[in-house]
Symmetry: C2
Subunit: 483 residues, 2 copies
């Protein structure tokens, strides 16, 4: 009797679907009267907290310490690293007045915190023994976006920016840290069951001030790519701009080597989008604010018995560590409760009525497939746990498969164009490696070059020609329509 | 052999003492180049997190839901409630530019969030069934302080502002909420072992836009008073300014009744200051990042045995839920380790050397009294837990006693002046109730009227005269030098 939920509206009208989820659950209220900002509702805040806990856990296990820096950055500090300021100059919000006074020094709302943190690294680092430093903070950042904004995805206040910053004695240590950062992010996205591809961004699209950037991209239901995390090797550029040096064994001084990496609420947008269907969200159990919801099926005269049993089952599940709620609202029918909790992505629903109680069983419904199972109440905790694990696994497999099907390899410009226009997703093509050729390709295809596949995803291609200029191809490059 | 730690420098040179703690632990780095801001270091962040968890726990138990609102408030919204804007107009930071563009609407960095949140209450509240609303958020707020700043106590960026906002159908419900807010705050400060007095602030010192304000004050080591929390009854003032109405049973509309209450990192400053002594901090175990530190007492040839046993004990304590660290740094003597962990306020130190291992015992030293106890290793978890509880209780008692001794009741202006000048703390005097008289008294005493004692601290005084004007006194009023 299982009805597999449709993913039609989800795929064909993703933008509407996403806005509906945010406003009807609600997750994030976009009616705040400053463009490109929003409010995390109680439900949204719990979901955000669950994601943050996973991010924090992975960073702490990898020896990162959490700190908190001020929001405001003096203009002379923001301007210290040349490439960095060139990029952010047009995107920064400026505080110019305190009360009625014009400030002596203009203060930027941080667009990211390199230029806030690294002047302090200069004070904190003296000797070799002060290294490595591995810190992170979770803060809001600001970008004066002139493009159309989109909730959680392109905003002016990024409310949930996790930024890690590290400093090391040698290039090798720092490059190892880049690999660690990539491993940490892979684990975070795997725990969220968000599929991703890792690409080394092209020279002209790396983080301003970095030597190179590795990005995590996912594909949204409309086939467009969303960047959900980046890891940057900064070399010694910032160290030189901010004079961050340590004393070496022989008494000389050496600039430190640095990395930084960031994740934002785009991860939450991806989480919601990737697993959704026409009925609403599907949340992996580790971030679901409620993992199992119990719906009393009430018949006249049996109300008390049923409610009592529901609360008893809630007690059993809570003791077993399952976040459980009983939806005992009187004015709403069971059917409408089903819809509401499906919308919220609650992985397991438990239906309990007089007949179930008589039979000492309960009906468990898994959110992803809307499949029913009957479980004896004596085994309800194990049954629910098993079902949660099964939902998690299925969500992971479905999203991975969906994404894998949207990485297409083609060898001609024509096929590239066709694939981008019809199927979307990421298209891998042979490329000569020339920047001019890459940028022309971006303009002509109205798409973005995501870069070359990161090592472990690399496929060695030989004897092919650049799809654009026809010269010998030196590498595969990924191209996509993107957010 | 117990040596009770001195509190001489702590009391006589509190300001230096406090700065030393912040910079030497370190807790909060004040060298960031924007006046009135600072950086929470890894240790400080953990301490802050512990305090936040207690605040969050008490609010959630009392049915408050956490949310997150944007930082920026358009000028026309900030200006909607007359008294509110009058107070904040001179204190607000203004964002005027995005990139190189002048913004159409000036945006304020929130000085507090009434004017950000209440326009959304207007959207969220329709029917009686939407009430009550009880939300809170933990955010940074900004005040352009023109007075001398002081780390955590008077800052321009308050990095840790917990603000709760509620809306109710009736005045009675809202006033009950004020009482609940006061009860919640009392529990929070009791869990932190921070002593307090509650006063109803005078008319001229209430929150701008409120009908009345109840404040929690503590006394710092220098005898000056620090406001650490406030609970406000807002009446319908903001509801009228922001048009927040609900439909009543008979189909009419009624404005909601509101309350709000806030706590900032001043609570952390009070926590550090209240319990400290000349050796450093004393942290209650619930917020101590490390509750028990194990110091290996190493003799040549025994290093490995000792370290092994230390890690074994750490395992036992960790399994018992005690946050434990082993300080196995080689280049530092045990004595210097003692100093470092005393400075950090770690409640229990465990010394373990070859002789202890032979005797199957460990030496436990409680931070507050620096008293030693010998405990068999077989009972080390229970022994440590008992000692932690004993430290907590002693810190609570000492701070409560210290504070109680600094509430003085006098009946003459002369004694008021003398008490303020010599002993400091809070002085309670009979007062006629006149605002003019109160404000003159503040000017003449160079002190602040904290207000009348809150109900449960009220002592009915009769047949006395106002210390200032000599008329019949109607109430007791509290006055103090304050931060």
């Amino acid at each position: 009797m299982a009805k597999t939920p449709e993913r039609k509206v989800w795929a064909e009208n993703y933008s509407d679907w996403f806005h509906k989820i945010l406003s009807e659950v609600p997750v994030y209220d976009t009616r705040y009267p400053v463009k490109g900002t929003g409010i995390w509702t109680p439900f949204g805040f719990k979901l955000r907290k669950g994601v943050i806990e996973i991010i924090r856990d992975e960073l702490e296990k990898a020896n990162h310490e959490e700190v908190l820096f001020p929001l405001l950055i003096p203009d002379y500090m923001l301007g210290k690293e040349g490439d960095h300021i060139k990029k952010f100059d047009d995107e920064v919000y400026w505080v110019t007045h305190g009360g009625r006074d014009l400030l002596d020094v203009k203060l930027a709302l941080r667009p990211t915190s390199e230029t806030a943190i690294y002047p302090m690294f200069q004070l904190w680092v003296n000797a070799y023994s002060d290294l490595p430093i591995r810190i992170f903070q979770i803060v809001n950042i600001f970008r004066y976006e002139t493009k159309a904004t989109r909730p959680m995805i392109r905003v002016r206040e990024v409310s949930t920016f996790k930024e890690a910053h590290t400093a090391h004695a040698t290039r090798e240590d720092a490059e190892n840290q880049v690999q660690d950062g990539i491993a940490i992010y892979s684990r975070i996205f795997e725990r969220l069951r968000i599929p991703f591809f890792k690409s080394i961004r092209p020279e002209w699209d790396k983080f301003p001030g970095a030597e190179y950037s590795v990005a995590f991209d996912t594909i949204l239901p409309d086939g467009k790519v969303l960047q959900i995390g980046t890891v940057h090797f900064l070399g010694q550029g910032f160290a030189k701009a901010f004079d961050i040096k340590y004393m070496t064994a022989n008494g000389g001084y050496e600039y430190v080597w640095q990395t930084c990496y960031g994740i934002s609420e785009r991860a939450i947008a991806a989480l919601i989008s990737t697993h959704g269907d026409d009925n609403g969200m599907n949340l992996p159990s580790n971030v679901a604010p409620v993992q199992a919801v119990i719906i009393p099926i009430v018949y006249k005269g049996k109300e008390e018995d049923v409610l009592k049993k529901c609360n008893e089952v809630k007690g059993i599940l809570t003791s077993a560590g399952i976040r459980t709620a009983v939806d005992d609202r009187k004015e709403i029918t069971p059917g409408n409760k089903y819809f509401a909790w499906e919308l919220k992505g609650t992985p397991v629903r438990i239906e309990l009525g007089p007949r179930d109680i008589e039979a000492a069983t309960a009906v468990l419904v898994r959110r992803d497939l809307l499949q029913k199972t009957v479980v004896p109440i004596s085994a309800i905790a194990e049954g629910t746990k098993k079902l949660l694990a099964s939902v998690d696994e299925a969500l992971g497999e479905r999203s991975k498969k969906w994404m894998a099907e949207r990485l297409t390899k083609v060898t001609s410009l024509d096929d590239l164009q066709k694939t981008l226009d019809s199927k979307g997703g990421i298209v891998e093509v042979p490329w000569c490696g020339g920047r001019g050729c890459g940028e022309e390709m971006e303009a002509k295809m109205n798409a973005r070059i995501l870069g070359t596949p990161y090592h472990d995803e690399m496929v060695v291609e030989c004897s092919q020609s650049c799809v654009f200029c026809g010269k010998d191809a030196t590498k595969a490059i990924r191209i996509a329509r993107s957010y």
